[in-house]
């Protein structure tokens, strides 16, 4: 069924364009295999939330105006992987260690919540019992898992590379 283009669609498209332009113009830093996995993590974790809490029988929110899956939802999902990549990219570039880790997670969780508030104001999310306060906690949890996996993946990658250069 064709539906008219709403503000949520424009929000999705504009954010997608900005994200992917930035993604393709950033100088490569993370190994391709690790970057691909980080992007898969960045897509899978939100999908787990969206399709656990946002669908019946729990059904706490709708995405992109309608309860049904629409093409606009695919656009929304496409926003997640580059964000996970930027998160890992900056984590690596800024050499986040020690006490900087919780500070970095907090900054990203606040930014994520603010981004979601903007998306909700454009109709990308429609809460039916959900609240941005819970989103903040979800972002903290998801970002912590992503950071942990990223660090483990990078360590594993460097170990494998080192082993391959041994005589």
């Amino acid at each position: 069924m064709l539906r008219s283009i709403g503000p949520n669609d424009w929000f999705n498209v504009i954010v997608l364009v900005i994200e992917y332009v930035l993604f393709f113009f950033l100088p490569p830093r993370i190994p391709k295999s690790v970057a691909a996995l980080v992007m898969l993590i960045g897509l899978a974790l939100p999908l787990v939330w969206d399709h656990s809490l946002g669908t019946p029988p729990i059904d706490l929110y709708d995405t992109n105006v309608y309860p049904e899956l629409t093409f606009a939802d695919v656009l929304t999902w496409a926003m997640y992987p580059p964000l996970a990549y930027f998160f890992a990219y900056l984590y690596d570039k800024l050499r986040i260690r020690g006490l900087a880790i919780p500070a970095y997670l907090l900054v990203w969780a606040v930014a994520g919540t603010a981004f979601e508030a903007a998306a909700a104001s454009f109709g990308v999310f429609d809460y039916k019992g959900w609240s941005l306060r819970y989103s903040f906690l979800v972002y903290l949890a998801v970002l912590s898992v992503t950071a942990y996996l990223f660090v483990r993946l990078m360590a594993s990658f460097h170990r494998a590379r080192k082993a391959s250069f041994r005589p």
Binding site: K32, S33, L37, L40, H51, R161, S164
Partner: protein
């Protein structure tokens, strides 16, 4: 009761998997696992909300049991299957194993239906079978794709096979 059984199965299966898995590199495990989630999760919404082909009773325990199955046990099963399939050398053996694993996945869906965790309408079954085939193929493709990227990153083939 469904939640207790599902949790116990999830715990024991996970333990068994990580105690025995020697075929895939953990990059490949993660790729196959995440791909299964990425395809399966929206498909559930498509089945449940767009077409009303499946429904889950509004009982917290049963909803939790379904989540354990869809978000943990099912990706685990797919990843296990991909690992086993990768280890087979002959194409016919691969195909036979793939078909058997696919049929078993549909059987698991039937088990969910019988146990009352998910209620399928008859119209759902052909699409459910197609979906499970797509998930399995995509996860196998993701594992191969990540192996390709690892090679491009300079990790040699020896890293992919941990000793038995």
């Amino acid at each position: 009761m469904q939640l207790v059984i599902m949790s116990a199965v999830a715990f024991l299966t996970t333990f068994a998997y990580f105690a025995t898995e020697r075929r895939l590199h953990h990059f490949e495990i993660l790729a196959a696992w995440l791909t299964a989630i990425i395809i399966n999760s929206p498909a559930y919404s498509f089945f449940a909300v767009n077409h009303h082909w499946v429904s889950v009773p509004r009982i917290g325990e049963i909803a939790a049991a379904r989540l354990i199955y869809t978000q943990w046990l099912f990706p685990l099963y797919v990843t296990w299957t991909v690992g086993r399939m990768t280890a087979l050398r002959r194409p016919l053996a691969k195909l036979a194993f793939f078909l058997a694993a696919d049929a078993a996945m549909i059987g698991l869906g039937w088990g969910l239906h019988l146990s009352g965790i998910v209620q399928f309408k008859p119209a759902a079954w052909p699409y459910y079978a197609i979906l499970k085939t797509i998930v399995l193929l995509s996860s196998a493709g993701a594992a191969l794709g990540i192996r390709y990227l690892m090679r491009k990153d300079g990790i040699p083939d020896a890293a992919f096979h941990r000793p038995e």
